[in-house]
């Protein structure tokens, strides 16, 4: 069977992105917390996924942003570079635009507020609930964080349990610990 030569495959993927024909472009990035799938829509970074099983991620991206989802490195280069700088300790804030448009309103509110918690700081679920004016909603805030599609850049690792306990993290507690350790925010 004839197979597509690699340079031809790459050329098509680049052409598709530069012609503006994609709803979402994605690629993989290696990081100290494992391999990440990084995806961008036309409006900005829309997904970072730990332990990617591409079928699952692609289905979600396709349902959320449109079916024209293609692996193409160009549109996610900037995000990968900023992630590298972050993991090297050279970047404390991301300059990336993020796209949270497919998310339900409450979850967006939570995640947009979360972005204001600075590097190296932490808050609690209850604290974040108060910040958005819903002091009773700590549990719902936890649910919204658990389904955060853009961890690291939308820093749900900066939310800890009351009393500073490291509680659940969709990417696993070891990763949460690693990210907080990198930021110098590790709690006793």
């Amino acid at each position: 069977m004839t197979t597509v030569p690699e340079p031809l495959d790459r050329r098509f993927r680049e052409a598709a992105a530069s012609a503006g024909l994609l709803d979402v472009a994605y690629d993989y990035a290696d990081s100290p917390v494992g391999r990440l799938l990084v995806a961008a829509s036309n409006r900005g970074l829309c997904m970072i996924s730990y332990d990617p099983e591409p079928d699952r991620e692609l289905d979600w991206l396709s349902a959320s942003f449109g079916a024209r989802v293609l692996r193409s490195p160009g549109p996610v280069d900037l995000a990968r570079r900023e992630l590298d700088e972050y993991f090297e300790g050279e970047r404390r804030e991301f300059d990336l635009r993020v796209d949270l448009t497919p998310l339900p309103g409450f979850q967006r509110t939570v995640l947009e507020e979360l972005v204001r918690i600075p590097y190296g700081h932490v808050d609690t679920y209850g604290g974040l609930a108060r910040r958005i004016g819903k002091p009773q909603a700590a549990r719902a805030v936890g649910g919204a964080l658990n389904r955060n599609p853009i961890p690291i850049v939308v820093p749900c690792h900066r939310i800890v349990g009351a009393g500073g306990r490291l509680t659940g993290y969709a990417g696993g507690l070891e990763r949460k610990q690693a990210l907080l350790g990198l930021e110098g925010a590790l709690l006793a």
């Binding site: 069977m1 004839t2 098509f12 079916a67 024209r68 989802v69 293609l70």
Partner: protein, 155 residues
Amino acid sequence: MEAVAQRPPFERFYEERKDEIFGYLVRLLGRQAAEDAFQETFLRALRAYGKLTHGRHLRAWAFTIATRVAIDVRRRPTAATNEAPEVPVVDRRPAYAELEHLADRLPPAERAAVVLRYGYDLSYDDIGAALGSSAEAARAAASSGVRRLRRKETT
């Protein structure tokens, strides 16, 4: 509720189809022209993909686009090529495989009909759609193509 076959993410469609479509284009156009036609085929597919309302018949749809691109390429005077198309190493239809090296001398539509039918087992309905005609016309094109090939072989 019966599930409607959804369009898969384009990446999955592309990965499933790219080698077969490239092989088809190589058969129709030769290696070099096939490379340009390959990119054009999947860019056209991508342009249309957003408007597809379901995920049925995607294989035939991909062949349709590739066929149209190939016919356009062969009609462009500057793209005329004397390069011999690659003869596939394995073919499920040896009788056709023995004739295929002659197929580049057929008119583009006949050639596409012959290759789609005997090289890829597409139905005449799908071939008719690919050629922008009917199943009957596709059947006629394929059989006239094969007759012409047999004659070429004996001359």
